[in-house]
């Protein structure tokens, strides 16, 4: 029964697109594998700089962005703020992740939807993704 239920859930995920932004390519690989294995479409970005413009430019609006707080080049929080400041991207839910658990407190200021401390369990990741992915 449990299997049937998860299969149904998986069916819902087929069209959900998740963008993962992290400056570590290994994390990107692992995230891509994990999320795809669990039924999501996954895109990955190594840089956060100008993310909101890039998305608008390529007319790409994922259902969830998983964003690392510490990105080389730009601060993930700043990237989130820019996304939330733009009318075309502000609706995209953002799940922030960081190796600094203390940062969980500061995500409210930037309107991020959730926070996950690295390293995390797969089931925690899936739970958070499921909670935050856009349901439109």
């Amino acid at each position: 029964m449990k299997n049937n239920l998860s299969r149904k859930k998986n069916m819902d995920k087929i069209n959900k697109r998740i963008l993962v932004v992290d400056d570590d390519p290994d994390i990107l690989d692992a995230m891509k594998l994990t999320l795809e294995t669990n039924g999501y479409k996954v895109d990955i970005f190594e840089k956060g700089e100008g993310l909101s413009d890039k998305l608008i430019h390529s007319n790409f609006y994922p259902d969830l962005i998983i964003l690392d707080v510490f990105l080389s080049g730009t601060n993930g929080k700043e990237v989130c703020r820019q996304l939330k400041d733009n009318i075309k991207t502000k609706h995209i839910p953002v799940l922030m992740v960081s190796a600094h658990p203390d940062l969980s407190r500061s995500i409210q200021d930037i309107n991020a939807s959730g926070f996950l401390a690295k390293p995390f369990e797969v089931h925690d990741l899936l739970k958070k993704v499921n909670e935050n992915v856009s349901t439109k």
């Binding site: 570590d24 290994d26 994390i27 690989d29 294995t37 190796a99 203390d102």
Partner: protein, 627 residues
């Protein structure tokens, strides 16, 4: 008053003469009393009295006073005929300093008794014949009669008066002697009173000086202690040194200047203070054109080079002339009216940080050695403060570098751990799907190990934060039961053989950092699982007491030996022993948990019996207003 005739015929006119003499005594005494009453200066008064005595009572009189140092001071040698004064003086010199003297000042001073030679006849002359010059002088002067009386005050001989007659018609009688003694008594009384008065005055002066010194000393101490307070109050010594100026000016000095040696070894003006702001601006401008030149060997430069103070109690014009280069400067420096200068090094343990100059100008204040010692002390304290700040800053920098390193390192360690966890869990998922259950078990073990590694990394970071008070707490109101349930749920996968039983209830909320309390509970549960490998149950109890909410985690495992219990919360403490099974760990978990509870105003405790299990519990206060 003519008594000469009566003296020629003493027998016939004795009574009349006596009456005349009494009258003269009366008048003379009145005059003397008057003089004494208006006496201001002792010497002048005695001189005037001498003049009254000659010629009415004597042709020659001498008053000697023994001073405080037992020295004999001769106030007056008086004679009606100045030409004979020298001769008369010689007579006394003939007696002077001769202890064996039969008569005279020294004799009276020694004996304290009056003496009289009514008639200086051949017999008397004969007695001094051995002293030829004396003999000759007495003859030459024609000494006819002599008497001397001591000045006695409160039983002490304080002087003597001698009176001599060379008149053929004046021979001293007992009545004269009594009168002379009366005069002497009056003089002695006045002198003694004057002495007492002077002593009292001196005492007052001494007391006032002592009081002033005390007040000064207190002022100095206060200044030093205020300055020290300032120095210890801040790490910004430059501002502090500027603030000390407000203590020093104008109470200690008129100018306060501090020069510091910079990193290039040049002198930099750090602080200038003067009561007049215009003067401060002037000094700053002047220093721009006249910086302290360390290649010279004067003033501040020398203080810096030698590490020794310079003290100029009184600035002379010569010094100013010597120190300037031209007339314009001379005029300028003169106009500043420097009175006194103290320059001290800011020196501690052989390191000179700079120099402090205090100048008295315009005011009449002249610096003393005590001022110098105080300023030197202040210099040392300032130098100590600077050294402390430098050491502190260096240490702080090192700590910051270390903290930054640990923070970066833990971040860097967590990144590969994150990928590792994801990969191992996805692999587990995949092999399960394909039915390879054995492999699935190994991937799970691998994942657990990665989790342990992650906890260790997190603990290392937390310890660093705790040690430097950098752990942040986000206080909020929450129900601990929810936190407990979360923690139990998270640990369930690890507790395959255990049953974690939650007992009790908590209706009230606590006030704290939810995440940190979760960390503490997780730590206690992890320990309970780890140290009770063959037990079935772990009891978690929650309840309320007066002090707050009490929570305990009880296991039925190996327990802790008594000798370890007291140290169980110490940083890096691990239970090890030859007979004991060792468990992996760095001894950080309980230390961190205890610290977190402490920072919440709570208390953690442990009860344990070896072989029977342990119970860790803590109390957290309710939200403040619910107390």
């Amino acid at each position: 008053m003519d008594t000469s005739k009566s003296r020629f015929k003493p027998n016939l006119t004795k009574k009349k003469s006596h009456n005349n003499s009494l009258k003269m005594h009366e008048v003379l005494l009145a005059k003397i009393i008057d003089r004494l009453a208006t006496s201001i200066d002792q010497d002048i008064t005695l001189q005037e009295i001498s003049k009254l005595l000659v010629p009415d009572l004597a042709d020659y009189s001498r008053i000697a006073i023994v001073d405080d140092y037992k020295k004999i001071k001769e106030i007056n040698v008086s004679h009606k005929d100045p030409s004979k004064v020298q001769l008369a003086s010689d007579i006394f010199d003939g007696y002077k300093g001769r202890p064996e003297s039969t008569h005279g000042i020294e004799k009276i001073l020694n004996s304290g008794k009056a003496e009289m030679i009514e008639i200086v006849d051949k017999k008397v002359l004969q007695s001094v014949k051995s002293n030829v010059s004396l003999y000759n002088t007495i003859k030459k002067i024609g000494l006819k009669s002599y008497m001397g009386v001591p000045l006695i005050a409160r039983g002490r001989v304080i002087g003597a008066i001698t009176l001599s007659s060379i008149r053929a018609d004046r021979f001293y009688t007992m009545s004269d002697l009594k009168f002379a003694q009366e005069i002497a008594n009056r003089i002695a009384l006045t002198l003694d009173n004057a002495n007492l008065y002077r002593q009292a005055q001196n005492e007052i002066i001494v007391r006032r000086e002592t009081e002033k010194k005390l007040v000064d000393a207190q002022k100095r101490l206060l200044f030093l202690s205020e300055a020290s307070k300032l120095l210890s109050s801040s790490l910004d010594y430059k501002t502090t040194i500027n603030n000390i100026a407000t203590l020093a000016i104008p109470y200690i000095a008129d100018w306060y200047i501090v020069d510091m040696l910079n990193e290039k070894g040049q002198m930099e003006l750090l602080s200038v203070a003067h009561a007049d702001k215009k003067m401060v601006r002037f000094a700053k401008e002047y220093r721009k054109t006249h910086p302290v030149d360390l290649s010279t060997n004067s003033g501040t430069a020398r203080v810096i080079k030698t590490g020794k103070s310079e003290f100029i109690p009184i600035v002379t014009d010569e010094m100013i002339v010597d120190s300037v280069k031209n007339k314009k400067e001379l005029k300028l420096i003169r106009s500043l009216g420097f009175t006194s200068i103290i320059m001290v090094p800011l020196l501690v343990q052989g390191t000179v940080f700079g120099a402090m100059t205090l100048v008295s100008a315009g005011s009449k204040r002249i610096f003393s050695e005590t001022d110098l010692s105080m300023i030197e002390e202040l210099g040392t304290r300032i130098a100590l403060a600077i050294q402390n700040v430098k050491l502190y800053t260096e240490a702080q920098k090192a700590i910051d570098v270390r903290d930054e390193f640990i923070s970066v390192a833990s971040h860097e360690l967590k990144t590969p751990l994150t990928s590792l966890k994801l990969f191992s869990q996805v692999l587990k998922q995949q092999v399960e799907k394909r039915g390879v259950i054995d492999f699935s078990k190994y991937f799970e073990k691998m994942d657990n190990q990665v989790s342990k590694l992650a906890v260790l990394v997190e603990d290392l970071l937390n310890i660093t934060k705790l040690e430097h008070g950098k752990m942040e707490f986000y206080m909020e109101e929450f129900n601990i039961e929810n936190v407990l349930k979360d923690a139990i749920e998270t640990l369930m996968p690890m507790a395959r053989f255990h049953k974690i039983v939650l007992k009790g209830k908590s209706t009230k909320n606590i006030y704290g950092d939810k995440y940190r309390i979760y960390q503490v509970v997780t730590n206690l549960l992890t320990n309970a699982l780890k140290y009770s490998p063959s037990a079935k149950n772990i009891d978690v109890r929650v309840g309320t007491s007066k002090a707050g909410i009490r929570l305990s985690v009880r296991d039925y495992g190996i327990g802790i030996d008594k000798k370890h219990l007291a140290k169980i919360f110490d940083q890096f403490y691990r239970v090890t022993g030859s007979k004991e099974k060792t468990y992996p760990g760095l001894g950080m978990g309980l230390y961190i948990a205890n610290e977190i509870i402490k920072r919440h105003g709570g208390k953690m405790s442990v009860k344990s019996i070896k072989g029977k299990g342990s119970e860790f519990s803590f109390t957290l206060p309710f939200k403040k207003n619910e107390k």
